[in-house]
């Protein structure tokens, strides 16, 4: 007779028993934990570990616990998944007390649907309304939720154009281009010196933003708002002009070769490695720039086209990051109050600037005088008088409408006109 061992089955039985036992044990220990958490706050955070923001937040939280004895647990999720994570846990009524996130089309449904709490009265009660910049409060006030405020506005950003003066000078360009014609000339000189001109993340969200950047050269904010919310690019002569401008930049060689394939990361590292002389990018990258690049960089707006509606080079700024308060969090409002007030304390605010290199959404006199050690952060704070700020499209473009694939295609099609591209964009708004 043949004899074979039955090890596999024995192993399986062993593992199963172990699994069940372990499961039972963990279940027990979890029950004990839940009783002691009346004095505990949980935060779902998009400030992730390994980034300046995440690391700084971890430090602050430890400090807060030391001062007040309130335990704070931070759970991190990356920006792509964090909204889903919150909504899933809300379904189970196990959502975290606070969420650190941006107010974007993905999250602008939360207040109207009651997934987060209107914090207007808390802002007033805790004396925070006067500390926060009015534009930020306006941004966070949602008309479709009875003008409730979706969260506590906290950090902001600016989004200028980065110019590597070392590379520009190498090609014989002595100043930051002031007009689009200057830009085209500069690009030609750069290419002659074998330096790729302007990097752009043509395959991802940077191209979406850049499209709105160009369109707004010829479209005023009111019209732009309707345009971004509802579409209708072909019907707007200004919009078509803006798209034509983008086409002109493409055809004049202002962008690096194969720009339509660049991801946002590839754009940034091209610039950081000196493989591009210019890039439109935001303050979130200031701290990551290598020191040599940071000191060589001048920040400014995008050059002016002829016949545009603005008089100064254009850039973006926003106040979209803040704390959402969940219904679970509202049950622990005493602890939440301590935490929020702590975060708006002057030393803490200043720490975000000097160590976290953030731009805060609070008024300058509240912030006091503080500077970051990062040269680019300092330069970024100085651009305001030099630029005109455009309308930030993020809160108007409907969730799920993505210009990027269409933008990537447009950037790859030499000669295609704005009149043609506007049709593609309008199609994105079809139901």
């Amino acid at each position: 007779m043949i004899r074979f061992s039955s090890t596999p089955l024995r192993m399986a039985a062993l593992l199963t028993t172990a699994a069940i036992a372990a499961g039972a044990l963990t279940a027990c220990s979890k029950d004990d934990a839940s009783e002691a958490d009346a004095q505990k706050l949980t935060i779902l955070s998009s400030f992730t570990t390994g980034n300046a923001t995440g690391d700084h937040l971890n430090k602050l939280v430890k400090d807060f616990t030391a001062q007040t004895g309130i335990q704070v647990d931070i759970e991190e999720a990356n920006t792509n998944d964090i909204a889903n994570t919150y909504e899933a846990s809300k379904l189970a009524d196990e959502e975290r007390d606070l969420v650190i996130l941006n107010l974007t089309p993905d999250t602008s449904d939360w207040l109207p649907q009651g997934q987060v709490v209107d914090v207007k009265k808390y802002l007033d009660e805790w004396g925070l309304t006067d500390k926060i910049v009015p534009e930020a409060l306006k941004f966070w006030t949602q008309a479709d939720a009875d003008n409730g405020i979706a969260g506590f506005p906290y950090t902001g950003f600016n989004w200028p154009v980065w110019y590597n003066m070392d590379l520009l000078k190498k090609a014989g360009v002595t100043e930051v281009p002031a007009t689009v014609d200057d830009l085209v000339t500069a690009a030609t000189k750069l290419r002659a010196a074998n330096i790729p001109p302007m990097a752009l993340g043509g395959a991802e969200w940077p191209v979406q933003n850049f499209i709105t950047w160009m369109v707004q050269q010829y479209v005023k904010p009111d019209e732009a708002q309707t345009l971004f919310s509802k579409g209708g690019f072909c019907a707007s002569p200004g919009a078509v002009q803006g798209l034509d401008l983008l086409g002109k930049l493409r055809d004049s060689g202002v962008f690096v070769d194969n720009v339509q394939g660049y991801t946002a990361d590839q754009m940034t590292s091209a610039y950081f490695n000196g493989k591009a002389a210019m890039m439109p990018s935001g303050s979130w990258s200031y701290t990551e720039a290598p020191p040599a690049i940071a000191s060589a960089t001048e920040l400014g707006g995008f050059p002016l086209p002829t016949g545009g509606v603005y008089t100064k080079p254009t850039a973006f700024q926003g106040h979209s990051n803040g704390f959402f308060l969940s219904p679970n969090g509202e049950k622990k409002i005493a602890s939440v109050e301590k935490f929020i007030k702590y975060m708006y304390d002057q030393p803490v605010l200043q720490g975000w600037v000097s160590e976290g290199s953030q731009i805060m959404s609070v008024k300058n006199d509240i912030l006091g005088s503080v500077t970051s050690t990062q040269p680019l952060v300092v330069k970024g704070n100085e651009i305001t008088p030099k630029v005109d700020y455009l309308l930030l499209p993020d809160s108007y473009i409907p969730s799920g409408t993505d210009y990027s694939p269409a933008g990537s295609e447009f950037l790859g099609k030499k000669g295609q006109t704005g009149a043609h591209f506007c049709k593609t964009l309008d199609k994105l708004y079809q139901k």
Partner: protein, 307 residues
């Protein structure tokens, strides 16, 4: 529903029907745990898909309401669905035959146990080992504008042919197909090798005596024996590609440039997780469901086992 395999009709000498039925009753017990378990977690989602497909539902916590045939109507008039269907068809009809035929030959090759075959087996499994996100990162680096492929072209003097492969309307879909084949070939090859190893060497020896070479041994001897299995793996690869392309598309091209790599699976993801239209996303899921069944029927026909 379709059966994916024919039950092999094994002639039992002197068995008798009664004994067969009695055996079967005992056998059911063996299969029950698996079946019940599986049903609990499948019927729900399947049923839900059929229900939600006819609803207007924005997001996980948004209010939902029925809207009859509106979603279906929308689907039938939606150009994007048409484009996605074409892309899905191209994706499948190119990658599936290449993978299945290539993998079978690869499995046969590995089974020859030539020197180095152990290492090759390990290497062949690599695409299956690394997670989807790691593969995405890799191919973005390989096929990016300043990636490996373009650098290589530069070095051999073909720099003019360098393009942004994943953002080029002509090359985006071929790139996707290539990645699909790359990741499916080795893995399926290993699966074939495992099955082929159970074929008695004496059968091959007999064919050799008749003067058969490897090609003939592969297709005239091994294939008929494994025809059933070949069908199963084809079905698996078909379904995996049909339903699973969204992952790769998300990581590599997000449907672009334009709509050149937008597949039906991608649209299900897009409407389910990117724009808040879960109802419509499930409607497209229904289309995939139907296509899945149609494909299964066809595959079964093609691989009908002959005894």
């Amino acid at each position: 529903m379709t059966a994916i395999l024919d039950t092999p009709v094994v002639a039992r000498a002197g068995g008798g029907r009664k004994r067969a039925r009695r055996r079967d009753r005992g056998l059911i017990l063996f299969a029950l745990p698996s079946l019940v378990w599986y049903l609990i977690f499948t019927i729900g989602p399947l049923g839900a898909m059929f229900v939600v497909a006819f609803m207007d539902w924005a997001g996980l916590a948004a209010p939902a309401s029925f809207n009859g045939m509106e979603n279906v109507d929308r689907l039938l008039h939606d150009d994007r669905i048409l484009t996605a269907s074409k892309n899905t068809a191209v994706h499948l009809f190119v990658s599936l035959p290449v993978i299945m035929v290539g993998a079978f030959m690869l499995g046969y090759f590995l089974n020859l146990k030539l020197p180095g075959h152990r290492i090759l087996r390990v290497i062949m499994f690599v695409p299956a080992l690394i997670s989807l996100s790691a593969m995405g990162m890799l191919f973005v680096a390989v096929l990016g504008p300043t990636g490996l492929v373009n650098s290589a072209l530069d070095q051999v003097g073909l720099g003019d042919h360098a393009t942004a492969w994943l953002a080029d309307p002509t090359w985006a879909m071929p790139s996707l197909i290539l990645v699909t084949i790359w990741s499916g070939l080795g893995f399926t090859g290993i699966l074939f090798a495992a099955r082929l190893s159970a074929i008695d060497g004496e059968i091959y020896a007999a064919a050799e005596l008749d003067g058969a070479n490897h090609w003939q041994k592969m297709w005239r001897v091994a294939y008929p024996i494994c025809r059933d299995y070949f069908g199963v793996l084809t079905m698996l690869q078909y379904l995996w590609t049909l339903f699973g392309s969204a992952g790769m598309v998300l990581l590599l091209t997000r449907g672009g440039p334009g709509e050149s790599t937008s597949t039906l699976s991608w649209l299900v993801y897009r409407f389910g997780f990117r724009s808040p239209e879960v109802g419509y996303s499930q409607t497209i899921g229904l289309v995939l469901f139907v296509l899945g069944i149609v494909g299964l029927v066809i595959i079964r026909r093609v691989f009908r086992a002959r005894y």
